[in-house]
C-alpha cells in the first residue's frame, strides 16, 4: 500500500487527476467522497426536478442534493422552491413520501408547521417558547433557477447564473426540448430506481463513452439481429460520423444523429405493442412524428447529476463512496398524439432491460477492480492530444471513441475539489 492510498494523506487532486490517467483513490476513498458532497454537490448547480411534476400550489417532490434530503415545492404564489427537507427545530425530515400535495408541512415530531415556501407559520404551545423572530427559523432555502422548466438548485454562495453555467450545453438542451411539439416536455411521476455498488463517477465515465457500446452492449446489438434491426449502438465506433463534445463545466454531449441519416425510428426494434400504435400514426398521416417516440439521439450530460438518455432523464444520486442510485425519469410529449407517449413507455424499457444491466455490471466490476491497492491508475489517454474546436469556443470535439469528455469533466472535477467554492450556511 502506498502512502497516497492510505487515506491519511490529504488528497492532491493535481496528482490524482492527470490528463492521461486518474488515480483509483477518487473512486474508493470515503474521505474524498465526503468532500465531494460539498465541493461538487453543494457548489455546483444540480438538477432537482421538473416544473411539470409540481403543477399546483402545494405540490412537492423529494430528492437529494449530494446526501442532503431536499424538497421541491410549488408555493401558494406559484413559485418553485427548493428547500432542505429538515425541520428547523430538532432536525426531523419533514416530508416522508416521495411526492404529494400539502398545504402545509407539519413536522411529525413536535408539530412545527411550515408553508410550502419554507416559512415557519406555527409553533404549538408558543407561550413558553422564546423565539422572537420566526423568520430565522424558516426551512433552509437553496438558490433556485430553471431552464426550459428544468429546476436546478445550489448552495454555492455566489453561483454563476444558470444560463452561463449551462453555456454551450444549451444548444443540445434546446434541441432536446424543442423537438417536442410546442416545446412542451413533461416528466412522468414514479421514477425507476436502480442501484449499483460503485462510485457515482463511474456513471460519468460511462455517459459519453462511445467505445463501450460495441463491447459491453454486444448483446443489445445482437438481440436486434433477431428481427433485422440495426440498433444505433451497432455502428462501428471507429468510423462513425457521430461526434462527442467535451464542454465547459464538465458537461458532455454525444451526438449520434450524423451516424443515423435514416432517422432514429429506423433503429428501433419491435418493442411490445409497437405495430398497432405505429400504424395508427401512419394511417393518420403523422408518420414523421414517430421519431419522437425514440430519444433525440443526443446524449447530454450536465455535471454532476443529470444525463439525458433516450427519452429518459437519469439522475445520479451518490449514496456512499461505493454505492450509487440512479433515478430514471421518463419524459412525455404533451403536445403530440397520444400514441407517442404510449410508444415511449415501451421504447425506453428496451434499453433499460437489455442494455442497462450491462452498464450496471461493468460499474460493479470496475469498482471491484479498483479495490486493488497495488494497481493505482486508470488509463484515460485515448484520443490524446485534445484539440480545441476551430471556432475557438470552449468545446473539445472528438470521435466518439475519444476519452476527451472523460478527461474534461475530470479536470473540471479536480478544479472544484482543489479550489472549493464558498457555500452558504443555512
Amino acid at each position: 500500500m502506498t502512502a497516497i492510498d492510505s487515506g491519511t494523506v490529504p488528497p492532491d487532486f493535481d496528482y490524482l487527476v492527470q490528463p492521461h490517467r486518474v488515480h483509483r483513490r477518487i473512486y474508493t476513498d470515503p474521505q474524498i467522497f465526503d468532500l465531494e458532497m460539498t465541493r461538487v454537490f453543494a457548489a455546483s448547480w444540480c438538477y432537482v426536478g421538473h416544473e411539470s411534476e409540481i403543477p399546483a400550489p402545494g405540490d412537492y417532490r423529494t430528492t437529494t442534493l449530494g446526501l442532503r434530503p431536499v424538497l421541491m415545492t410549488r408555493g401558494r404564489d406559484g413559485a418553485v422552491n427548493v428547500l432542505l427537507n429538515r425541520c428547523t427545530h430538532r432536525g426531523t425530515v419533514l416530508a416522508g413520501e416521495s411526492s404529494g400535495c400539502a398545504k402545509r408541512f407539519v413536522c411529525p415530531y413536535h408539530g412545527w408547521t411550515f408553508a410550502p415556501d419554507g416559512q415557519l407559520v406555527a409553533i404549538p404551545f408558543p407561550a413558553d417558547h422564546a423565539v422572537e423572530d420566526r423568520s430565522t427559523l424558516s426551512l433552509g432555502r437553496l438558490t433556485t433557477a430553471t431552464y426550459r422548466g428544468f429546476v436546478f438548485a445550489t448552495l454555492n454562495a455566489e453561483p454563476e447564473p444558470l444560463d452561463c453555467w449551462l453555456g454551450e450545453a444549451r444548444e443540445a438542451f434546446d434541441t432536446i426540448v424543442d423537438r417536442h411539439p410546442g416545446g412542451d416536455i413533461a416528466v412522468m411521476g414514479s421514477p425507476h430506481l436502480l442501484e449499483f455498488l460503485g462510485n457515482w463517477k463511474l456513471s460519468w465515465d460511462n455517459a459519453a463513452d462511445g467505445l463501450h457500446a460495441t463491447f459491453a452492449h454486444e448483446s443489445y446489438n445482437t438481440l436486434g439481429e433477431m428481427v433485422d434491426t440495426e440498433t444505433v449502438l451497432a455502428r462501428d465506433p471507429g468510423s462513425t460520423p457521430m461526434v462527442s463534445k467535451a464542454l465547459r463545466n464538465g458537461h458532455m454531449v454525444v451526438d449520434q444523429r450524423p451516424g443515423i441519416p435514416q432517422g432514429p425510428w429506423a433503429t428501433m426494434r419491435r418493442v411490445p405493442f409497437r405495430e398497432p400504435l405505429e400504424s395508427a400514426l401512419v394511417d393518420a398521416g403523422e408518420e414523421s412524428l414517430l421519431d419522437l417516440a425514440t430519444g433525440s439521439m443526443i446524449n447530454l450530460s450536465l455535471f454532476p447529476n443529470l444525463l439525458f438518455v433516450g427519452n429518459q432523464l437519469l439522475v445520479i444520486e451518490p449514496v456512499a463512496v461505493d454505492r450509487t442510485r440512479l433515478q430514471l425519469w421518463l419524459t412525455s410529449a404533451p403536445g403530440a398524439p397520444s400514441e407517442i407517449d404510449l410508444l415511449r413507455l415501451r421504447v425506453d424499457e428496451d434499453f433499460v432491460n437489455f442494455g442497462t444491466p450491462d452498464d450496471l455490471d461493468m460499474f460493479e466490476r470496475v469498482q471491484r477492480g479498483l479495490s486493488i491497492p497495488e494497481m493505482e491508475w486508470i488509463d484515460m489517454s485515448r484520443g490524446l492530444p485534445d484539440s480545441d474546436a476551430a471556432d475557438g469556443d470552449a468545446t473539445i470535439y472528438g470521435p466518439i471513441t475519444s476519452e476527451a469528455p472523460q478527461r474534461r469533466y475530470l479536470a473540471h472535477y479536480a478544479k472544484l475539489m482543489t479550489t472549493p467554492a464558498a457555500t452558504r450556511a443555512l
Binding site: L193, F196, T222, R270, P272, F273, D283, L345, T356
Partner: protein, 193 residues
C-alpha cells in the same frame, strides 16, 4: 387521440390503439382490484398451486425455454413500479408481449449479456396462494420471496404475483409481479421474471 383516425376505427388505426388500451386497462384493473376480492375458491386454489410451483421451479432451474412454452400467444408479463400503476401512463420495469418474452429467453442464453453472465442463481418461495374463477380459467394471487445469488453476493426481494391462467392446461396469459423494493432502488433486477 390521433386526429383523423378517430372517425374511421378499424384494424390498423384507431381501433388498433383501442385494443392496446383495452389490454392495458385489463392489466391495471387486475392489479388495482386485487385487494377487493373475496376469499378464494378452494378448488381453484388447489388447481392453481401446482402450476405456480412448477413455474417457480422452472425459473429457478434456468429452464427458460420450457417456461416460455407455457404462455399463450397473447401473453403479457408486467412488472409495474407500484401497485397503483397503469401500463399506459406509468413507467414499468418491463411489459413483455409473447415476442419480447422469446427475445428475453434468447438474451438469457447470450454470453455477452453481461447483466446475466454469470447468471443469477435464484431461489423462489411461493406461498399464500389464492385463486378465483375467471373467463376461460382462473386468476391467482400468491406471495413470493426470491433470493438472488450472483458475483458472490445475494439480495432477497419479496412481493406478490398475479397470474391469469387459461384453457384446460392453464397456460399463462397474464403475469404481474409486484415488488415494492423496486420503488427504493434495487441492484440489477434483470433476474426478475
Amino acid at each position: 387521440m390521433t386526429g383523423g383516425a378517430a372517425d374511421a376505427p378499424g384494424p390498423g388505426s384507431a381501433g388498433a390503439q383501442a385494443a392496446v388500451l383495452a389490454r392495458y386497462d385489463e392489466l391495471a384493473s387486475l392489479l388495482g382490484g386485487m385487494d377487493d376480492r373475496p376469499g378464494a375458491d378452494p378448488g381453484l386454489t388447489a388447481e392453481a398451486a401446482p402450476v405456480l410451483l412448477h413455474e417457480a421451479r422452472l425459473l429457478d432451474a434456468g429452464r427458460f425455454e420450457d417456461w416460455l412454452a407455457g404462455w399463450t400467444s397473447d401473453a403479457v408479463l408486467w412488472l409495474p413500479l407500484s401497485a397503483r400503476a397503469h401500463p399506459g401512463t406509468d413507467q414499468s420495469l418491463l411489459l413483455d408481449d409473447r415476442r419480447r418474452l422469446a427475445e428475453r429467453v434468447d438474451w438469457r442464453r447470450e454470453p455477452s449479456a453481461w447483466g446475466q453472465n454469470p447468471p443469477s442463481r435464484t431461489t423462489r418461495v411461493v406461498g399464500s396462494i389464492e385463486a378465483w374463477a375467471a373467463a376461460d380459467g382462473l386468476v391467482a394471487r400468491s406471495s413470493f420471496l426470491i433470493d438472488e445469488y450472483r458475483h458472490g453476493r445475494h439480495q432477497a426481494l419479496a412481493g406478490y404475483q398475479i397470474h391469469e391462467l387459461v384453457g384446460d392446461d392453464l397456460r399463462r396469459r397474464t403475469k404481474i409481479l409486484v415488488v415494492p423494493a423496486l420503488g427504493t432502488g434495487v441492484r440489477n433486477p434483470s433476474f426478475l421474471l
